[in-house]
């Protein structure tokens, strides 16, 4: 990954999917919001992008920081408020290429956890209110940044590409915290799917609705855009045909068997009489 091109995919895909529509004014430069149709339905597309001039030095490269968390909340809450009482709800597409949450003293001091909670809550509330929410992973979807921007979606779509990655922590930090070398971490990751950094291992966990192969994820060709749109339409249809508003469509993969077993045991024991 070259420095110049790092985390530009969010913007590239946001533009490609909304080409005839204007970016909305009034948001911080790192949170781009465009209202444009999706398969004939009103939709709001949201991306977090680098802002070299941010007042917050630890959030200049596309990280989700204090401002980004609360701005995401505002962008999502706006459509929820606008559509309250309407039967047809605006779709929301989170275009995801986020390197991490912001790591810094200012961030911790002023409660970055609360800002990210603002974003996660807004997406979850939108989904519960009936807005179809789709997360589109076009680059990295890391840890707290992903929890704030996209992980609350009804359906997730990812591009099958070496630079597309979902993880809880970057390799160097993960190695330090687990007291392993990066080499040892990588060799474990090769045999343990939830630890792996590649998108196919992630897909094997059953968390994706679709994983699509394209010609040029950095600068999408017209055919790439058409294919992505097709995938978005399929996800939208799937959401609209599903009465559930929760995240249960993510359960069921063999590599995530225990997540289902635990829920089955809890349900069985839940209504037993108290002592």
């Amino acid at each position: 990954m070259s420095t110049v091109n790092q985390h530009q995919r969010g913007n590239a895909w946001l533009s490609a999917l909304t080409e005839h529509s204007q970016r909305l004014d009034g948001f911080f430069p790192s949170v781009r919001v465009v209202d444009a149709p999706l398969d004939g339905r009103a939709a709001r597309y949201i991306a977090v992008v680098p802002d070299q001039d941010s007042r917050f030095p630890r959030a200049r490269h596309g990280e989700v920081g204090l401002i980004e968390g609360w701005e995401l909340a505002r962008a999502v809450e706006q459509v929820v408020t606008r559509d309250s009482g309407q039967e047809t709800k605006t779709a929301i597409v989170a275009v995801i290429d986020v390197p991490s949450q912001a790591y810094g003293r200012t961030e911790e001091a002023f409660g970055i956890h609360q800002a990210l909670a603002g974003a996660a809550a807004a997406y979850a509330k939108a989904r519960l209110a009936g807005h179809p929410v789709i997360g589109l992973i076009v680059g990295t979807a890391m840890s707290g940044a992903f929890l704030a921007h996209g992980y609350q979606a009804n359906r997730l779509i990812a591009i099958r590409d070496p630079e597309v990655m979902v993880h809880a922590m970057g390799k160097e930090s993960a190695a330090r915290i687990t007291l392993r070398s990066v080499d040892a971490l990588e060799s474990l990751a090769a045999s343990i799917p939830p630890m792996a950094y590649d998108i196919d291992s992630y897909a094997s966990l059953g968390l994706l609705h679709a994983c699509i192969t394209l010609d040029d994820p950095d600068a999408p060709t017209p055919a790439d855009v058409a294919q992505m749109q097709q995938s978005l339409h399929a996800a939208l249809d799937d959401i609209l045909n599903d009465p559930r508003r929760d995240l249960s469509s993510r359960l069921g993969a063999a590599n995530r068997r225990a997540s289902l077993t635990v829920r089955e045991v809890l349900r069985k024991q839940w209504h037993a009489p108290s002592p």
Binding site: F56, P57, L66, I67, W70, E71, A73, E77, Q101, Y103, G104, R105, T106, E107, E108, A109, F110, G111, I112, H113, Q114, A115, A117, G118, A121, A124, K125, L128, S143, G144, F146, A148, Y151, V166, H167, A168, M169, G170, E172, A174, R176, I177, S191, I192, P193, P194, M195, L205, L207, D246, A258, S259, V262, R263, V265, L266, R267, W270, S274, P275
Partner: protein
């Protein structure tokens, strides 16, 4: 909180997760679900030479609090740093999902979450992260019906994706021993350098992220002594407030307004945060 100094305190921080759940629920009312005899342990740790535990470090306890149906979700900080793996995460998410379902069926069960966690268990990375997203979802669902009360007692603190979960709760109770932050001190030092954050400077860490500071700056709702009865009293007081009209996580306008006033050129201090956040953040 008006108890005399001679009162013998029953510490909460010294209790295990299971003991904490029992102590917070009405006497004799606790029933554990998916208990260790169900052998729901991590399918991933053994493969990495780490001994799995039969409850995966999470206790799901049903019972009552002041007579109201209650489920307590208690994380065991003593096992793998309270980290969230697939099984422990599913226990919390699954129980919250059932609680929300009960409320939709007219059963007014509330949830108490005892956060004692470093966040995602890195040995189960993406399945921990996925479970935390489901915990977030379930809290936001359940809090529409009943207040969800989070408690950060210490000593582990509440970090990572679970600090976001704490930020989603209707109310948050903290002790002096507790810390709340998104990124653990060691990770910030690793990512941003020791000049940004010195992970060995404990007084500095507590001054910015400790229970008293979080309470004084409006990021927690109650600050209590390390004492079971005080925690129960705070639970009672907060529960009496009912579901808040706006949750703290809904206050983007208010927080964005405050953040616009920060001088980001100066290192943040506890005093700056209290000054900016202390007054009138409630909607």
């Amino acid at each position: 909180m008006n108890r005399t100094a001679t009162h013998y305190r029953d510490s909460i921080t010294e209790l295990s997760a299971r003991q904490r759940a029992r102590a917070l629920l009405d006497a004799g009312s606790m029933r554990e679900l998916a208990d260790p005899f169900c052998h729901l342990s991590s399918p991933w740790l053994g493969l990495q030479g780490i001994t799995p535990q039969a409850d995966d470090g999470v206790v799901v306890a049903k019972g009552s609090f002041d007579g109201q149906p209650t489920v307590v979700l208690a994380i065991e900080g003593g096992y793998q740093g309270g980290s969230m793996g697939e099984v422990g995460g599913a226990k919390i998410a699954g129980a919250l999902e059932l609680a929300a379902e009960d409320n939709r069926n007219g059963i007014p069960i509330q949830a108490i979450i005892l956060f004692e966690t470093g966040g995602v268990r890195l040995q189960e990375a993406n399945l921990g992260l996925a479970a935390i997203a489901e915990i977030h979802s379930a809290i936001v669902d359940l809090r529409r019906y009943q207040p969800v009360i989070g408690i950060s007692a210490g000593p582990v603190g509440c970090y990572g994706g679970m600090s976001i979960a704490a930020g989603l709760c209707s109310y948050l109770i903290m002790t002096r021993e507790a810390r709340l932050g998104l990124n653990g001190p060691a990770v910030i030092e690793q990512e941003a350098g020791i000049d940004e954050f010195d992970s060995r400077d404990k007084p500095f860490i507590w001054s910015l992220t400790g229970g008293e500071q979080r309470f004084q700056s409006g990021l927690a709702d109650a600050y209590v002594a390390d004492d079971i009865e005080e925690v129960r009293m705070a639970m009672r007081t907060l529960r009496a407030r009912g579901t808040p009209p706006s949750h703290r996580s809904d206050l983007f306008e208010n927080y964005l307004g405050r953040l616009a006033m920060i001088d980001t050129g100066a290192p943040a201090t506890a005093e700056m945060v209290r000054h900016l956040y202390a007054i009138g953040l409630e909607s």
